[in-house]
Amino acid sequence: MLIPQLINGLTQGSLYALIAIGFVIIFGTMNLVTFAHGEVYMAGAFVGAFAMTLWHLPWFVALVMGMAAAWVLGFLIEKVAFRPLRTAGHMPPLLITIGLSIILKDLAVVLFGAENRPVPSIYEQTVRLAGVQVSVLQLVILGLAGSLFLVLRLLIQGTKIGRAMRATAQDHEAAYAMGVNVNRVFSIAFALASCLGGAAGVMIGIYYNAVYPTMGGTAGLKGFAACIFGGLTSIPGAILGGIIIGVVENLTVQFLASGYRDVVAFLVMVIVLVLRPQGLLGRKLRTV
């Protein structure tokens, strides 16, 4: 029973990781925390669910639509909530995102209803891999998350805008003096972070066959936790943090009781952070 639970944990953890990376990108470039990230994830999940149920589109089209919607939403949040307050310190944007999170959640309740909305299953078959039954859907999710990590890495390490993002994260005034349009970098960083959250939302909706307005609460919290666990500004750290949280949760469900899953997951995190306050892969210097 160990291997299947490890795979469950890995699948769930890779989706936490996608959310966590969003926090890393936003904190890394802008030095700010958003509490509306879970709701961006929820919005992406709803768009994906609608695409599949109302418009009967294939799942990958739904995924792209959910990611695009989250991108746009992130772009707008940065414009209205963060940009006017860039010099106002940490507190005002934080409070605004808490407000935005409530507004988005309630808006979803008003527009779509508070109850669960079903999402059709895909890839229900399983395959045997090295003697273990594995669900095809889990493999699809893992492959997808892995590809997104890879694309993100190529984007950040290998492109001009990625380099500008890293430079801005390290010294935004120097980057500005070199001619970087820092506002544009912030916009893109926020939208990119949101887009990854939207992808996680669509995939979670498909994985659990349901979306609902409050789904962003726990997911946002877990993602934020994974981000801190991993070292706050390290993308590999966020991936590792997300996966560890996912795996610990699923092993707890298997070997203890499902009621303890969050307790054990956060306990492990607390212990690691006490021993290593900078997080798993955290450094003293800020980077994306």
Partner: protein, 234 residues
Amino acid sequence: MLELRGVCTRYGPVQVLWEVSLTVGEGELVCLLGGNASGKSTTMKTILGLVHPVRGEVLFRGRPIHRDTPAQVVRAGIAPVLESRRIFPQLTVYENLLMGAYTRTDGPGIRQDIEAVYERFPLLRERRGQLGGTLSGGEQQMLAIARALLARPRLLVMDEPSMGLSPLFVEKTFEVIQDLNRQGIAILLVEQNANMALAIAHRGYVLQTGRIVLADTAQNLVNHPMMRKAYLEL
């Protein structure tokens, strides 16, 4: 080539520059001297478009640039060497150089210019894959200058390049500055180290609490009684 006319700059309620006027001619090496909090860095930031003056104007090659963004200023031909170097510590030496060419889109030209700065600073070629933050202070200064050159500037604006460097590297830095100037790049050198700056500059200005109080040739400034007393420690 560069002309400041009656520039006043303020940060919120605090006015830092009062009617600052200065010029840097084609191919000239001009230094801007002054003590702490005299407004040297603010003058530089105003030229670079990092802050905008409330009154007065900044002209570059006859065109007003005091409402421009830093990107536009860099494109116009002014490149910054910022105070305390401001290398991107987690970018490689090569990537730091690319950031200097950020406003450019001519790929082959950029590669050619990177090759040229590697020729000038062979150490940077050796360290091109190393993170900027791992270089010593003096090496970072060379990188900061090289990064500015990647913008293909007509004018280099340098803020305290000697600060925090060992005497050996200060000397090396000033040699490089003089060398660049001889190749035709105009330089505005903002410095506290008046001795060194006046030794290589053609002309100089002295700022005191945001006002230009002296403007003369480097030779005359060295001999000026006020300079000898206040800055030159002779």
